[in-house]
Symmetry: C2
Subunit: 536 residues, 2 copies
């Protein structure tokens, strides 16, 4: 037996003693912080001891149903205490949590239920009541556990009410063997890129970011109060909430985003760490209740998805607290994978993602797998224990994403001279027009600077002469209007000639994912014949 064989066999033998399991996070926090408040929602509070007991009960219920290690449990829930209890119960039972975006159309939900071969579905009664959704599970023969919130519809016939599942179940941690590397969850990416992919993570891969996340936020265990206002079915909020629970902090759960409600919750519960999207910070800032709200408890604001425009950032730093940090990641690269630190935010402005967290490393790579130096443009790649296991039932896509031993994000980026990472564009959103590369983001930024424009997307559409023609789609602010040629002139004033859109289309609505990303593939598909017949 070689030494490494020996180590491997010992490592296997100690899976039990040394396991990393997401449910154990709650179990351990309950030992250390039992009496402290783990979750607050409205008037309700759950201590760590109560959260531990409730999640154990739901795990025992699932096991009593005959569900076993590795089976997939779907979830169609908006944020609530019960949702968090249910997802942790699923993972404590050694089952695989398959959260589904509640904003998806019935066909997309059906795709996930079938693709993941979901054995049970935990769903909000309000989501089940939506046209086309409630019928799916019965049609596929999937038993349903229904979460009913006050004022929401009753569970449909045949569904098991969530509250009833907990009755009579033991409060102790179920004795289930869980291997650190086994599947903990499959999250389907929300699809800016077409067909949904099931991103598999193990207990260990998700767990690997939890303590590092807290490090970048600072503060000792058991001392902070976190928001939970983005959907927990999304990796960003799930990672943030699990981090807070690992650290014994208090999490204030909000169901859907309402600026006034969130402001009131921050003041009432003395929230210290806010995690939100740029547009949410803006909405809070512009809310009538803002000036009278006590925000003195807030010490750190995390944002994601997009950079904050400089003027807005400066206002927010005045209004909330000096420390704002942009955290990025992907479902595939459990967040946070990069952080643009508070100190750096005061020093440089632009589409920065900052540096890799202590959990992982980030680099820029060319198509042949060579790592690039400062100022060179290439694909943003990651390495670290928070990389997904792979795409469920898609070994080929997994292999492509993990070539050269790095996780490929599909994002174009560049390191500056100080090692700070700049995000340039999604690779597929880089427009190749007349032999030149045009970052769609650059065009969008110029359009967004025009006073009448609310939102903008630039894509390349097939064109006889240009190959791809830069084409912009915009929506206007309420009550705003533009003269013919006004946006074109604005672009000409701020962009290079080859970067100016060949056409700018004003729309009432841009197609969006439920997490607020523009679905450019929708635009490309809908307008694929835009230049046929030689327009523009």
């Amino acid at each position: 037996m070689t030494l490494n064989d020996l180590a491997s066999s010992l490592a296997a033998a100690r899976e039990r003693i040394g396991r990393i399991a997401l449910g154990d996070v709650i179990h351990r926090s309950a030992r250390r912080f039992g009496a402290r408040t783990a979750l607050i929602e409205g008037e309700r509070r759950l201590s760590y001891a109560e959260l531990d007991a409730a999640t154990n009960r739901f795990a025992h219920y699932l096991l009593a149903q005959g569900l076993r290690n590795g089976e997939r449990i779907g979830m169609l829930c908006n944020n609530s205490i019960e949702m968090i209890v249910a997802l942790l119960g699923i993972q404590k039972a050694g089952l695989v949590w398959v959260p589904i975006n509640t904003g998806l159309a019935p066909d997309a939900v059906r795709y996930i239920l079938e693709h993941a071969e979901v054995a049970r579905l935990v769903a909000d009664t309000s989501v089940l009541a939506r046209a086309g959704i409630g019928e799916l599970a019965p049609a596929l023969g999937i038993p349903v556990v229904a979460l009913q919130q006050p004022g929401e519809p009753a569970p449909p016939p045949g569904a098991q009410p969530f509250a009833a599942t907990l009755n009579g179940q033991p409060e102790t941690l179920p004795a289930v063997d869980i291997a650190s590397g086994q599947l903990a969850q499959i999250m389907y990416t929300s699809g800016t890129t077409g067909p949904q992919k099931g991103v598999m993570h193990s207990h260990a891969s998700v767990h690997s970011v939890l303590a590092p996340n807290l490090l970048d936020i600072g503060g000792r265990p058991g001392t902070d109060v976190y928001t939970c206002l983005l959907p927990v079915f999304h990796c960003a909020q799930h990672g943030s909430t699990m981090s807070a629970l690992l650290g014994g902090h208090t999490v204030v759960v909000t169901r859907g985003f309402d600026a006034g409600q969130v402001l009131a919750a921050i003041a009432r519960h003395r929230v210290s760490v806010v995690v939100a999207l740029p547009m949410m910070y803006r909405a809070m800032l512009e809310h009538p209740a803002f000036p009278a709200t006590d925000l003195s408890s807030v010490r750190m604001c995390i944002y994601g998805m997009a950079p904050l425009p400089k003027t807005l950032l400066l206002k927010l730093q005045q209004a909330f607290c000096p420390d704002f940090a942009l955290c990025s990641g992907q479902t595939e690269m459990y967040p946070a994978a990069t952080i643009f630190e508070p100190e750096e935010q005061r020093r440089r402005f632009g589409p920065y993602w900052g540096v890799g967290t202590v959990a992982n490393e980030v680099a820029v790579m060319d198509d042949e797998g060579r790592l690039l130096g400062p100022g060179e443009t290439g694909e943003i790649v990651f390495r670290g224990p928070n990389v997904m296991l792979g795409y469920y039932k898609d070994a080929e896509a997994t292999r492509r994403a993990q070539r050269f031993g790095w996780h490929h994000t599909g994002d174009l980026g560049q390191m500056d001279e100080d090692g700070q990472l700049l995000f340039l564009d999604r690779i597929k959103d880089m427009i190749k027009s007349g032999g030149e590369n045009v970052p769609s983001i650059k065009v969008e930024e110029v359009l967004l600077r025009h006073g009448a424009v609310a939102n903008a997307a630039a894509v390349g559409l097939s064109h006889q002469r240009w190959g791809e023609a830069v084409t912009a789609f915009v929506t206007l602010k309420p009550g705003a209007a533009v003269e013919p040629g006004e946006l074109d002139a604005h672009c000409r004033a701020h962009l290079g000639g080859f970067e100016v859109p060949k056409d700018i289309v004003v729309l009432d609505l841009l197609p969006m994912t439920s997490t607020g990303k523009i679905q450019k593939f929708e635009l490309r598909q809908r307008y694929q014949a835009h230049y046929e017949g030689g327009a523009a």
Copy 2:
């Protein structure tokens, strides 16, 4: 293929992309904190970029020597920048670091060299110059790399000078496959319990405490300055230093403990986090330079090994900073495994270990594997990813230590009503006298309260009537003396009748390990016939 088989095969395939390797900590910190100072020793400073390059060079040297994955590299070094470079180079090369306590006698060193089948030895020239040590490696045919510090002896003939090993080696991370679960180090326990045992840890098991350690200390990455004054060959200092390096902090390396030097270093380098033993804090407090030393940079003091007496703790909180935390652990249970938090230190006094860190959980267990409740006495047990892989070449001892799925510490403890863990005694140091249990620590504490006593150890020695007779060994403070019967009277005033030592022996020296623990097994062995013939 079941889902879990699939996950396992994917997990294996992503060992490279998602690996956890101790050397990568430096590589990643260098990407994020390249220009910051990683190590300071005397007048020398190494930035993270320089530390990364130097460790890569030493790794390349070892690989160029034909050493391969899993081979053991011994180390006989006191703290220095070079020692830290060497140990990280060993781990970056996928080799196994075998640190050896430099205070060990030649026989004990020889035992480790042979038991671990060491393939190379990295050693300080000053240690090699010690009688009986320098001959060991040549006699065993082990090539030596010699670290020479200023003012220390030249490398012995045949040894390769460390500085020369770095020449001409590449500065890039060596492309070595390292599995997260593979052996990273074997640390031989310093032997309060007799024969040394080789405690095996993987890259992942050591890594699992690094971010959690920083959490309990608080502070954001790249902002703190840590001491490094305990020996790095000991798990406590190794864990602390690796944590600091993961966090991009600065580490001030001290070679041996000199209170005046450490005070000067704290003031000069604006140290914010001090990690030291109680007796070292006392020595600093009593040093003539103390009153004039600027300690305003210190925000957290970590101590280990033993509780701080209340009066000393209160003085230290005034003199250094309000936040003192006791961190405990074992080589087998990589530290910190428990923390007695600063807030708790102000609330309760006694032999508290506090609570499990966010890395692991701690409990008290009876002999049948049942977890005990508050107020019940049993063995302190742990579970978590920081548990050792096992004892090298001792599967039976490993099995014993890991029975019932928990790591058994050999320590007796009790949870109080608030879930705070009290350490009572080493199980084998609990004295069973006349059918009663007498914690040796209780007897020692009473003796230490006597003004003349410098140090004390109580053990049970074989006795016809009592089974074990409580027997105390003490050393006196310089210049102090005691009347016959004085210590006995002191004990009678403060202990129950059956707890009073049957004999109190005054010694010039107590046998100690190099980490400052009294070697009770030595006392038991030396005095095993103390009561033969019916004495006392």
